[in-house]
Amino acid sequence: MAILTLLQAVNDALHTKMRDDERVTVFGEDVGPKGGVFLATEGLTREFGERRCFDTPLSEDGIVGAAVGMAVNGLLPVCEIQFQDFIFPAFDQIVSEAAKLRYRSGGQYTAPMVIRTPYGGGIRGGLYHSQSGEAYFAHTPGLKVVIPSTPHDAKGLLIAAIEDPDPVLFLEPKALYRSLKGEVPEGSYTVDLSTVRTAREGSDVTVFCYGAMVPVCEKAAATAAEGGIETHVVDLRTLLPLDEEAVLDAAKRTGRVVVVHEAPRFCGYGAEISALIAENAIEYMEAPVRRVTGFDTPFPNTLEHHYMPDERRVLDAIEGVASF
């Protein structure tokens, strides 16, 4: 098996699916000869030509809207929004159109498409190149929201997303693009959407996380283990639709839960996990659910390392719920 970075795994998934299925069409800003600003689409135009992978004018609304039309009419668009921070001009097309087309047409018309976009902090990008907007989209019935945290999952989940009959927002943790390497099988394979991954087994505290927070939580769990606390780390990897049963099982397993995300706390994804547990598993809980999140502020620039949950803050929460 090849050892790839998460970025290379995304690139591999795109190559793999484009070879398999000539309907798969990649487009967006700078995804052509440049290969994307992060190089996620490098080599695609060279191998598949400009009809299959091409640059668009600078219009996120146009990119996603056109993707809906292509999807309705038999192509499989995999469009890129250069940074998730720039997706909001396309919010209307995602929320009002892509996500509602199946419903409003009684299932007659559908938009099987993927919107790939890098999200999250850690690259000194300030408030317009660092945001985690998953909660805006996880509130959108009809849309699927996927976030990988390993190279293996990035490839398998992206291929599954492309094959999925519904629109998928595929959020890529840019902080992990090059920092994380792992084994990636060759050829086509899928990781089922709406399944969670157990990143670490433990019996004392359960940590729910996703994306770039997974390695942070794994490190905190390893440190907690030195102090005798065994942490169960769950990588949610599909936020919508969520595997609620798996979340509840993991919560009941320890009765002590921490939820971690980079995004602001208020109405963040952690609130949904917390409510799910409160509604369905309160009798199993030994401690209140703790959230470790970004501040309820815009994303900072020079102070980003203070804003982002790190090993210290996660460890503090793990020990806090463990000793409650």
């Binding site: 800003e29 700078d30 052509g32 000869p33 440049k34 290969g35 600003v37 992060f38 640059d55 668009t56 004018p57 600078l58 219009s59 609304d61 146009g62 921070d85 720039f86 909001f88 001009p89 850690g122 690259i123 000194r124 990008g125 300030g126 408030l127 317009y128 190149h129 840019k174 902080a175 706390r265 208020f266 501040f295 309820d296 502020t297 815009p298 900072p300 620039n301 020079t302 102070l303 980003e304 390392h305 203070h306 804003y307 982002m308 790190d310 210290r312 803050r313 460890l315 503090d316």
Partner: protein, 369 residues
């Protein structure tokens, strides 16, 4: 639609009527262009040394920036995108604030909250802009409407690049301004490339100026490397707006000589021959030749000016190197007019964790484009 407006040809020979400027004003235009090029050189050096994170250069665009800003009055406003920092300096943004913003230090008026190259200066009516392309276009239109409604004699100059003409903000902004006859000028700096997407891939129109017609306003394409032509066409558009004649679209055809930013490699998507052909149309050399011919400077002037400007910049860099970053409490400030209770609580919890576990350590992530 008019052809390319030019006053100086690429050799610096007058082919049109020079604007009515004093000798000092003519020389000032040159000095401002040298300032922009020198700043690029110094900032790129700092970026390579790891002192600043990101530089969006303006080398090649000097005539477009300086010529477009010069006809504006101090009371006018400038709305900007990535590369207008040098133009802002000519309108009053202090050099030390420019450098402080690049360092994102405690002298940065934006408190280090924006990435490098995101300037602002309230004193010269230059609002903070976001990295989101084209959003400033409608802001400028709304602000122009507000100026007009109060009966102020103020013009809003709204700058953006070629890529922004594909944004929602461009369409909405020009449409609203046309309907409202807002006192503004849309300045499209067509530098040939929106990161790696060429202007030919950005629009099927022959010139971005053609788009003006659809919004009921005049559009003109100007040789953006000819500072006198840029000045003259901007002056016409600014006067028209000031006189209540409504908006115009001024397209400055120029070329981004370097990458999109300090970390972009433009050789991946454009030919050397194209870059070379634009090097021959260099805005500084052309204007220098004109000034020498007119007897306003001698041939050693450019080098002498550059030396003095670089020394001035280096002195400011030296001062700003020493300035600390903003304090931690700024994390929760300026979200609202007052820090709300929930943010005070979050900040206090953060301090408690720091007391128990030590401070956060800075990661090694770097900006990729």
């Amino acid at each position: 639609m008019t052809g390319l407006q030019q006053i100086l040809n690429k050799e610096g020979v007058l082919v049109g009527e020079a604007p009515d400027l004093s000798d000092e004003q003519f020389v000032e235009l040159l000095r401002n262009m040298i300032m922009i090029r020198s700043l690029d050189g110094r900032m790129l050096k700092l970026q390579r040394a790891g002192r600043v994170g990101f530089v969006g250069t303006a080398t090649g665009l000097e005539a477009s920036l300086v010529g477009a800003a010069a006809p504006l009055l101090p009371k006018d406003w400038m709305w900007s995108g990535l590369r207008e920092g040098g133009a802002a300096i000519t309108r009053g943004l202090p050099l030390f604030e420019y450098v402080a913003q690049m360092y994102c230090n405690s002298n940065d008026s934006a408190k280090g909250r924006q990435m490098c190259n995101h300037f602002q200066h309230k004193g010269s009516n230059y609002p903070s802009w976001s990295s989101v392309i084209g959003t400033q276009i409608t802001h400028g239109v709304g602000a122009a409407y507000a100026s007009a409604r109060r009966g102020e004699d103020v013009v809003h100059s709204i700058h953006f690049g070629d890529g922004a003409t594909s944004s929602n903000g461009f369409h909405s902004g020009l449409n609203l301004a046309g309907v409202w006859k807002a006192p503004c000028v849309f300045v499209c700096i067509d530098n040939g490339w929106a990161i790696s997407v060429s202007s030919a891939q950005q629009t099927a129109a022959e010139s971005y100026a053609d788009k003006a017609q659809a919004y009921g306003m005049p559009g003109v394409t100007v040789d953006g490397n000819d500072v006198l032509a840029v000045y003259a066409e901007m002056q016409t558009a600014v006067e028209r707006a000031r006189a209540g004649g409504g908006p115009s679209l001024v397209v400055l055809k120029t070329y981004r000589m370097l990458g999109h930013s300090s970390s972009d490699d433009p050789s991946k998507y454009r030919d050397d021959a194209e870059v070379q052909s634009w090097a021959e149309r260099d805005p500084l050399k052309r204007y220098e030749a004109f000034l020498i011919e007119r007897g306003l400077i001698d041939s050693s002037e450019c080098a002498a000016q550059e030396k003095a400007i670089v020394a001035e910049i280096d002195e400011v860099i030296h001062e700003q190197e020493a300035a600390p970053p903003f304090p931690l409490r700024s994390l929760v400030e300026d979200v609202y007019s007052e820090v709300p209770r929930h943010l005070r609580v979050q900040f206090n919890q953060f301090l408690e964790v720091a007391e128990r576990r030590g401070d956060a350590t800075r990661g090694d992530g770097a900006f990729p484009l």
